[in-house]
């Protein structure tokens, strides 16, 4: 019992996808499709295209880091999705045509990717 409580406290994994309050993963997926994120990223749920300039995003919800350097936390992820160069000036990922709320929807969708 104690062990179960301890392990539950360690990780928020295993209890289903992480959620972001007020954000809608389904809407995030539609936004990502419309913006053409798949031109660079292989996106689960999009058959074509599967661009190779950026990393494939399958399993992104379980990754500890964003772009290999930032903690994978909702606020940082939403900011990264919307304006990656403000966090990493040398990144090749351009700002995306999304509002802040939309970026949170996209982040919420990314957390559903197992």
């Amino acid at each position: 019992m104690v062990l179960a409580l301890l392990t539950a406290a360690c990780a928020d994994k295993g209890g289903g996808p992480r959620e972001i309050a007020g954000a809608d993963p389904a809407r995030g997926f539609a936004l990502a499709e419309r913006a053409g994120c798949a031109a660079c990223h292989d996106l689960p749920g999009v058959a074509w295209p599967a661009g190779a300039a950026g990393p494939p995003l399958e399993g992104f919800g379980g990754r500890p880091l964003i772009a290999g350097r930032f903690p994978n936390q909702p606020d940082l992820l939403a900011r990264w999705v919307r304006d990656a160069p403000s966090m990493a000036p040398e990144t090749g990922m351009p700002p995306a045509p999304l509002t802040e709320a939309e970026a949170r929807d996209v982040a919420a969708w990314l957390y559903t990717l197992e």
């Binding site: 499709e33 999009v46 661009g51 090749g92 045509p97």
Partner: protein, 318 residues
Amino acid sequence: MTASTPRSMAGWPPPTLDPAGPFADPLHVLAWVLFGMAGIVLLLVLVALGVALFGPRRWRARLGGERLIWIGGLAFPVVVLSALLVYGLSLTGRLSDEPRPDEMRIRVTGEMWWWRVAYLDPDGREALQDANEIHIPVGRPVVLELESADVIHSLWVPRLSGKVDMIPGRRNLMRIQADAPGAYGGQCAEYCGGPHALMGLVVVAHEPADFAAWRSRRAAPAPAAAAAHPGAAVFARAGCGACHTVAGTAFNGLAGPDLSHVGARRTLGAGILPNNQGTLAGWIADSQSIKPGNRMPAYPVLTGRELREVSAWLESLE
């Protein structure tokens, strides 16, 4: 699983039985007439087959006679097919007449795997170059002069016209007209190798005043400030100007699409991707992963920053 969803931006797939102009109407009518006639003939053949298999002996004997062969096998098809041919030509014959002096002319050249577009003046000289997008005013016929630079392509904008082949060494004509403003999706309809399926285009119809404004905007070269953008330097260093033209700069390559106003296009990669800085960057970095076999190489020599600079510059060319 959704396939090619980004194309929905440009109305993809274009509805094929939803005419939006006077040159698509007769084809729509003809398609249904042919379909109806084929249905009637199929029904007659099935009835004959049923009688031959299960009918009374007297009927079967009549079916087996020589007279039915002459009537049903020769006279009937000759009459029906000739009538349909005459009817079809009466509907479609005028769609490919030579342009009249008052008609707007646009030359569209099929290339592997995109469309070179040139707006012609009344003397047939190229007044304006563009690619992968055709702009027209609503409510008046526009003559498309179809050519090919390599293999046979076919231009098909289902809501505005039928398919007309683009044949090397020939000039085929096709009329389009849109009754309402909007974007009409099109597609290469003749297999032309490799990424043929990813060779799309968009026809954009404007109200006449908007069209005039578009045209004068498009005729202007890139503003002088554009050449000072850091992205222009990346464009120069990477050698992009060997294949691409940007009007008002030293970049004057002709092998690939004209990029003078690429930021204003609705799509990227010939009708297949939404157009924004992100898709531009992805296309430049590795268009081969998006449209395998297309003639633009991947650019693994650019840094992330350079990629963003050049894509930002191209997006700003409106």
